[in-house]
Amino acid sequence: MHPAKSVIFFTTTTGAGYGLLFWLAVLSYRGLVGPDFMFGLIAFGIAFTLVVAGLLSSTLHLGHPERAWRALSQWRSSWLSREGLLAVLTFIPTGLFALAWIFLGSVSGPIIWLGLLGAVMSLATVYTTSMIYGSLKAIPAWSIGWTSPGYLVLSLMSGAVLACGLVVLGGYWQAADWLMLPTLFFLAFGLVIKLSYWSNIDRPLANTAETATGLGEFGKVRMIESPHDQPNYLLKEMGYSIARKHSKKLRRIAVICAFILPFALVVGGWLVPEMAQYFLSVATLLCGLGLVVERWLFFAEAKHVVTLYYDQ
């Protein structure tokens, strides 16, 4: 598939933003960070910027952005519609929680439950995002079942790395101490899931040019005349083949940047607390970069079955 910048940006930033919202609620539920004005302003500021920027980029690439509101109507059948609706609804609990944290300076009583509800809805939104792709049978790499676990775990992972960085910078050592373990766990878990995803999509497709044309009984099928001599919409959108050439190298970059180096840096921050803020800032940047490469591959490597009609 064509790796459009807008969807790569959309899925990575909303994933990290919702992940951060999740961990902020959990940390506050455990009483590890207080409803401090500055910290709240910066942490929620980053989380909402990531989410809003991602959602906006996904609407701006539409042919008719001014009609985007219509996408909220078909939640009965469409995962894209469910995602839009849930993204809007999630702003209610998360937004109220952030406002209470920042302006009331209190997250006690019902407010913390609002925060936790927001955390659950954030993850649910990430799940609906993953199902936009995971429900497309015509793209076997996405529909084999590893897409949703991947999106959920990577969202929790990038959110955790971000949250870790923020609590260290904010001087919440207790919170940092507690959060490092889940962060390391999700970095490792994320790597395992991604490696499984890749080994799964490397298997040959069940669909072939023979099954696509139904001409298999006559022998091996190849296209000898294309319907058009210049690429059309289908080939531009779905016939992207550059990734397959460089996929090994790019996968290595993604593995090192998104998982291995951040893991080492978080461990470093735990061992050498004086250096933790530097280690975690670098870890956050590398993780973000690695996830952009990972997401680029997610789109670029996924093969659409229509390419079988074009001998690709």
Partner: protein, 251 residues
């Protein structure tokens, strides 16, 4: 609206394409473009039509495949491909706006371009590449089964068939109700063992393809025009100059 119709009438209008007689002339694609560029989903925008990289919206595309058996017997098959008006159309259920829909009364799958947001998801969901995005208008377009022709009372009865069907010079395309087992098209499909494309995708297409008939083997002189002997292929007897010219030119 993007849920599939709950009480379909049982009528399933669609096409039957005979791969045995299609000669790959692209006439159906051209007439499809001609009719539809002023039809229900008009226009079928072209970008750079006379430039180096022409591109544009077409509802019907003709591929040509070769199938080679283990014994080395090869068959050329021209393969027209347009929307199959699937019963379980994934392009409809993924649509977030209700722009894509399947008609209850005859199963035709259409796009309401007035409310389409151009998210392209439906074209990702279609396994067959039957939807093409109109870059210029920012909306999705697709085969309408010529809904504005087949029901058009301003046309004489015999013209009320899709443009691709009426124009095909070999009669490789038929149109009718595939939901009715007694219709002409259903009988044709039964007689020729017509098949659906990629049934494993679970889309349950309505359109059917009729497989090429078995190749006639043997048959001797009567079955094919005799090859003319190409005497000037060898340089036996050709003059020195002539064979030198032949050598130079065939480099």
């Amino acid at each position: 609206m993007t849920s599939l119709p709950k009480n379909p009438s049982g009528k399933k209008l669609g096409l039957v394409i005979d791969l045995d007689i299609c000669v790959g002339c692209h006439a159906c694609a051209v007439n499809c473009k001609e009719w539809n560029t002023s039809g229900k989903m008009a226009p079928l925008t072209d970008l750079e039509p006379y430039g180096a990289k022409p591109d544009g919206v077409w509802f019907n595309r003709i591929h040509t495949f070769e199938a080679i058996s283990d014994a080395g017997i090869s068959r050329t098959v021209h393969f027209p491909k347009s929307c199959l008006h699937c019963d379980d159309a994934p392009c409809v259920t993924v649509c977030p706006t209700g722009a894509s829909y399947k008609r209850e009364e005859d199963g035709i799958v259409l796009v309401n371009t007035d409310i389409c947001i151009g998210c392209k998801l439906c074209s990702w969901a279609c396994p067959y590449g039957a939807r093409e995005y109109d870059e210029d208008e920012g909306v999705m377009k697709k085969c309408t089964l010529c809904v504005d022709k087949i029901y058009n009372e301003n046309l004489p009865e015999e013209s009320r068939v899709p443009a691709c069907v009426s124009t095909c010079p070999t009669g490789a395309r038929s149109f009718g109700d595939l939901g009715d087992p007694n219709s002409e098209v259903s009988k044709l499909v039964a007689a020729r063992e017509g098949y659906a494309l990629m049934p494993e995708q679970g889309t349950r297409p309505v359109n059917r393809y009729l497989p090429p008939r078995p190749k006639q083997v043997g048959g001797g002189e009567a079955s094919a025009p005799r090859m003319l002997a190409h005497q000037d292929d060898s340089d036996d007897g050709a003059g020195l100059l002539a064979s030198w010219v032949d050598k130079v030119l065939s480099r």
